[in-house]
């Protein structure tokens, strides 16, 4: 092979990958910033009032004002706290929140300068496992934040948060396991490709409707509830509620460290919505996608836009549920996680396995 061609193709794909990384990073932060704006607007509309509408047209510059406010506050480290851990904790929270967006397929392949480039930062074979692992590490950010504050309320909040997060990870993994059984692979791109056919194989339905939610409604419900619990969002926001724990694990933080904790929560929300959309709602596949098969760039662009519409719907769902339901008491939360969701997820898994074996015995294919 021509060495110049090799270097040239390497260079194109390298630059493309770097562009994708920077774009995804920017999109995550931008979406999280405007999710704060969206949260305030949606909360206001549901409460018969307007949201912020003073900063810029329709209040669109409000997140920038909030960010600026966070920077201008006094950055305070309590004297009796563990200084190194105190500074590291928001960093860990933000790091794990942003790292999960690396394995998500944002769109199908695009054609650039004669090369097909998948719109994904890292197409690892253990995509879902990577995401579950990173979410588990995310618990550390909160635990360390609570411990390093040297404050009994923060510690209580951190303990509650960590026990809540590890309890709901089990049910989350079990519900995703059923999807993995059906798709035959942990790779997120394979899971999305499996949703590109027509629903149940019926020929009168267009391509791109074979979404996993029609096969796993119970699994979707369990995963949704666990996603609410993992991101510490209402009704599972006991770790950070103001009425019970002052501020929970972020009581002692100020300025940008607090900004990082709050921002990491919104980035987590964004990434959970993305994972929900990818695994259950078809990711970047949309009805009628085979009509655009001859124009890969347009297909990728429309797929990306459709994925974003799904993500925005899920973020709206997060906010809708937050402003509707009162929060769970701690023992009710633990009861739900261990004694309701795990048995349900196991039943879902057994049912999925039984149906798959039945299908294999009838049709001879998995």
């Amino acid at each position: 092979m021509n060495i110049i061609f090799l270097i040239d193709s390497f260079l194109v794909s390298f630059i493309a990958k770097c562009t994708i990384v920077v774009t995804i990073f920017g999109i995550s932060l931008g979406m999280a910033a405007y999710a704060t704006y969206g949260e305030r607007k949606v909360a206001a509309w549901m409460q018969d009032r307007r949201g912020p509408n003073r900063a810029g047209p329709w209040g669109l510059l409000q997140p920038i004002a909030d960010g600026g406010k966070m920077f201008f506050k006094e950055d305070f480290i309590p004297q009796a706290s563990e200084k190194f851990l105190f500074i590291m904790a928001p960093g860990i929270a933000m790091l794990t929140a942003l790292m999960t967006s690396a394995v998500i397929p944002w769109g199908s392949d695009i054609l650039v300068l004669g090369q097909t480039i998948p719109l994904q930062v890292a197409n690892v074979d253990g995509g879902i496992l990577y995401i579950l692992g990173i979410v588990s590490i995310g618990v550390y950010g909160i635990m360390i934040g609570g411990w390093a504050s040297n404050n009994k309320y923060s510690l209580m909040g951190a303990i509650r948060a960590s026990s809540q997060m590890i309890s709901y990870e089990l049910a989350m993994g079990l519900s995703v396991l059923a999807i993995i059984m059906m798709s035959g692979s942990l790779n997120l791109r394979d899971i999305v490709h499996g949703q590109e056919g027509s629903l149940y194989g019926l020929s009168f339905l267009p391509a791109g409707t074979n979404w996993n939610i029609f096969y796993q409604p119970l699994g979707f419900l369990i995963f949704l509830v666990c996603a609410f619990a993992e991101t510490n969002r209402a009704p599972f926001d006991l770790p950070e509620c103001e009425t019970e724990l002052v501020g929970g694990y972020h009581t002692e933080y100020s300025s940008m460290k607090l900004g990082f904790f709050l921002f990491a929560e919104y980035v987590n929300m964004f990434v959970s919505s993305t994972v929900l959309a990818t695994v259950y709602f078809g990711g970047f596949s949309f009805p009628g996608m085979n009509m655009l098969a001859d124009n890969p760039n347009l297909l990728a662009a429309v797929g990306f836009a459709v994925l974003f519409i799904k993500i925005i719907f899920f973020i709206f769902l997060y906010m809708w549920v937050r402003w509707t339901i009162p929060r769970f008491r701690y023992d009710q939360l633990m009861h739900l996680g261990w004694k309701s969701l795990i048995p349900l997820a196991i039943i879902n898994l057994v049912l999925t396995g039984a149906v798959m074996v039945l299908k294999h015995s009838i049709t001879g294919q998995w």
């Binding site: 549901m46 018969d48 307007r50 809708w320």
Partner: protein, 179 residues
């Protein structure tokens, strides 16, 4: 035994039905209610572009009135300062000189008259205490400032301008003469 009050409620210890224990039907019902609220009319008004109607004797900023000939009515007697529950009013009195008869009504006048609008509670007791019908509260709300010193109103902010008289007839005592 009879209940001691007629407001007692019977507490029910019934177990939750299956539909209640799933939580989901109740959650969905609640979510539909919040969703419906998004499409209703908002209760907020865009202040300061829109304001709500106020009473005719609304107590806002203070004004030191002049009489019909243009002389200041305030004689620095200090009754408003004594009446003020928040101790917001301070004044320094001075004697009227030969050539100043058209400026001040009586021989004593207020050379320095200050109201600290941050201390003021807009109760109107100074208006009731004044024997010369000099100080009144208008229906203009105090604007916001960013520095504390801007809130201390001196005579330049309080005495009404000659060409811009405030109508305080609704607040004025009916026995006082017009002059």
């Amino acid at each position: 035994m009879q209940a001691l009050t007629n407001r007692s409620k019977v507490v029910s210890n019934k177990q939750m039905s299956l539909m209640e224990r799933i939580y989901l039907p109740a959650i969905l019902k609640g979510m539909s209610i919040t969703f419906m609220h998004m499409f209703r009319k908002r209760a907020t008004i865009n202040y300061p572009d829109q304001t709500r109607p106020i009473a005719p004797v609304y107590r806002g900023k203070h004004v030191l009135k002049r009489d019909d000939k243009g002389a200041e009515r305030c004689t620095a007697c200090g009754l408003c300062a004594v009446a003020c529950p928040a101790e917001a009013i301070t004044m320094v009195a001075a004697e009227r000189q030969k050539g100043e008869e058209h400026l001040y009504r009586e021989e004593k006048y207020a050379a320095v008259y200050e109201i600290n609008m941050l201390r003021c509670i807009y109760c109107g007791l100074c208006e009731e205490a004044c024997p010369k019908e000099a100080i009144f509260l208008t229906d203009i709300p105090t604007p916001t400032y960013t520095h504390r010193k801007d809130y201390i109103y001196g005579k330049d902010m309080l005495v009404e301008k000659m060409d811009h008289r405030y109508d305080t007839s609704k607040r004025q005592n009916h026995l006082v003469e017009k002059a």
